[in-house]
Amino acid sequence: MCKKGCRSKPMRFPRISIFHFSLFILAFAFSLSQADVSAEASISATQVGVGEPFQVTVQVTSDEKTEGLPWPQVEGLDKFTVAKNTGTTHSTQTTIMNGKISNRTLFIVNFTYTLTAQKPGVFQVGPIRYAHKTYDRNLGSANITVVKQEAGLTSQPSLTKRSAYVGEQLLYNLRIIPSQGVQQINLPQDLQKLIGEKFWFQRLDKNVEAKTVKVNGQDTRVFDVRIVLFPLIAGTADLSGIPVEYQQVSRTQRRRTGSVFDMFDDQFFGGAGNVVQMTAMASPISMEVKQLPPEAPADFTGSVGEYSISANLDKTSLASGDALTMTVTIRGDGEPKTITKPRLPDLGQFEVFDPEVTTGSAVQGSTLITTKTFKYVIVPHRRGEYTLGPVAFSYFDPARKAYAEAKSQPLTISVTQGKEIAASPNRVMSQREIADIGSDIRHIKSGSAPLRSENDFLYKHPWFWLLFSPTPVAFAMLFMVRTRSRKLATDATLKRKTLAGAQLKRRLKEANESLKQRNSREFYKALSQAVVGFASDKLNVEFRGLTLEDAKAQLRKRGISAASVAEYEKVLNMCDFGQFGGGERDEKAWKESLDATDNLLRMLDREL
């Protein structure tokens, strides 16, 4: 606790006292006697309050440059806190003597002592002595009367707990008790630097209002600055002192001269006291921050304190495919950022969209309460009566020193038949798909028709490809037949040659018929006609009527081999013998004749 100001600074130009003036004259006299260096001393006040700073200044004037000038020797400074600084200026003096103009540059150094008394009393400052080279002078001394401040400010910090868990809410209260003459109390803007990284904090009150409380049995006007703290790191945590700045209006006693100008010292004219910017430093506080127990629930996100959760629906009855809003509210006194999404029950029959989250905070007494609301849009897929299990939120309860779970009451929804499945707004759907939504799948295919194996693809079966062949083959054949028949119609030779086989077949049939009737003559006649007719048709030469020799000559002429010609002669002779010479009568001989004829016709067929 710091009851008095720890630092101060003058707010007004120091007034010149008579003592001050006499000291100045004395010093000036000395300065005249020394051409190179002169010194004088001055003091801003001889009566000050405790903690009120005042200045003692020694001004040294020299022809030389001021580097290396020593500080004055001032006694009696041990009763004060001292701050020293220097300042340098220079001036030029111009003199005309006997018509000659000469310039002289003077360097002036001010050695300033800012003194602050820590306790009341009368203290001597001085003697003040200045020595440099040949210059050595006593500049005098002065008695300073330090009086107790009539006004001031007391700051009393307090903490609700000196031992807390990580994340647990604590209240840091800084009670400011101002005295008379205190005005414009300010806390530093950047509290985070002072509170440090070991805490997350928030001021409870935007504006600090004065209130009157009993202090030591007396009504006292106080200001309470309330800050909630959440320790972030386990271990020893130090809250450094928080400086409270204020303005102190101090009245400095001045000897009355009885002149009319004394009236300007009256407070009415603002000249009766100094306004001093003061700072009261609150004492630091140390505390112990405990680590949370291990084995936290899986969904624990660091919330420490007392929490509650509630859930409600904007409607409890709707059609499938329609949307409803489930609002889940989590409320607690832990660090606000630690409240995350709650654990939802199994909503397998629902489509659940990401929630809209809003966060709010309120002060209840001296506690910061955070409320986080999650609004889920959910769409039931199917009709039915549903009971949604509790929505849960895990936290650590420092009062019970255990993890706990806040649960909401179960919710009941009645879903009637409607759209079976709702269209999700974040999905890309075609118009056709949208049109489909709201109906069911089509029913199974029934019927007693036996199953068949439909993956037996035709192209894997060679027989299928063979089915492509009949029509082109038929076309080709018919085309050729048609072309040939047209040709035969216009070419008699070709026609005769082409029909030779058919004629032969007919004649051999006649021979077979004769053979069945055992008519030897007719049999050999038919064979003879078949051989002669075949040769005539093939060669387009009429063999009938030709002698055998002529016929053989024609055959040779047409390139028939000698063997075939000889066979031709042999068969015809055999037929003549059979017809006209009584011939063979047994079936064996007929059969041999038939084979010989067949052999001849093959030979002729090959060669013709």
Partner: protein, 265 residues
């Protein structure tokens, strides 16, 4: 006599050739298996009608185990799977059914319906009227139907030609017109059929059967996870490498998924 022998020899050779080609045909499902599958199928239909979808699915599964591939069986099985809240499996069997019977409107409808409610969605590409018409024509018949139509058109061309050989001048004009039209239809038909056969032989599709499946950049879990695909998502199977399958999604992105996470259409 000689010609008759010759013809007999040719006929015998042709018969042997046909028998040899027939022996190369794929083995067909036996009649006994078809009968057993049909019985299970009808029992499954009865169970489905009684809303006993689990029993229906089990019986449909038995019918499928007989080796029967019938679009009705696939369709009904997919319906029962959908009722049992297995959208991935349902899509798989709707796709199998559509492959066998691309013209069936019920299959197309149910497939659209289930696809509309899966997580991963591929927006249908914008098409113009011409593309739509070509797509419609292409999907208007199955492979076997296309093959029969092709055979019919081919035969019609030559039959018309045969008739034209002997027809009078007036009829010949009509026959030639029919022949030209059939030839044009055949020309239009053949590429579509060729594409279908090629797809049947070379392209294979898969359906994600698990709620969420990670797609890796390589065939192993040590590779980078590219994305996550969800149940019911269809993709093209590029190749199979052991327990991993290289796949290509409809948006062109590819990766590897576990073979056990998908079903092949």
């Amino acid at each position: 006599m000689m010609a008759g022998k010759w013809l007999r020899i040719r006929a015998i050779r042709f018969a042997f050739l046909v028998l040899a080609l027939a022996s190369l045909s794929p083995a067909a499902v036996s009649q006994q298996a078809l009968a057993r599958a049909t019985k299970a199928y009808q029992q499954a239909n009865a169970a489905y009608e009684k809303n006993d979808y689990a029993k229906a699915a089990d019986l449909y599964r038995r019918a499928l185990d007989e080796g029967v591939a019938d679009s009705r069986l696939y369709f009904n099985y997919a319906n029962s799977l959908f009722r049992l809240n297995q959208p991935g499996m349902a899509i798989l069997y709707y796709e199998k059914a559509r492959k066998l019977d691309p013209n069936d409107q019920d299959i197309a409808y149910n497939l659209r319906f289930v696809n509309a409610n899966i997580v991963d969605k591929s927006p249908a590409p914008e098409t113009n009227a011409l593309t739509k018409a070509i797509t419609f024509a292409h999907s208007a018949f199955s492979i076997n139907e296309g093959l029969w139509i092709t055979l019919g058109l081919f035969s019609l061309i030559f039959l018309s030609a045969i008739l034209a050989l002997y027809a009078g001048a007036a009829a010949r004009g009509a026959l030639i017109t029919a022949m030209v039209l059939a030839a044009l239809a055949l020309l239009a038909m053949t590429p579509s059929l060729a594409i279908k056969i090629r797809e049947q032989e070379t392209l294979q599709y898969g359906i994600v059967l698990k709620p969420a499946v990670e797609m890796f950049s390589g065939p192993g879990e040590n590779f980078q996870v590219l994305t996550q695909v969800h149940e019911g998502t269809k993709f093209e199977i590029v190749e199979t490498r052991g327990d991993w399958v290289s796949v290509k999604l409809a948006n062109g992105k590819g990766g590897f998924v576990r073979l056990s996470d998908l079903g092949k259409v």
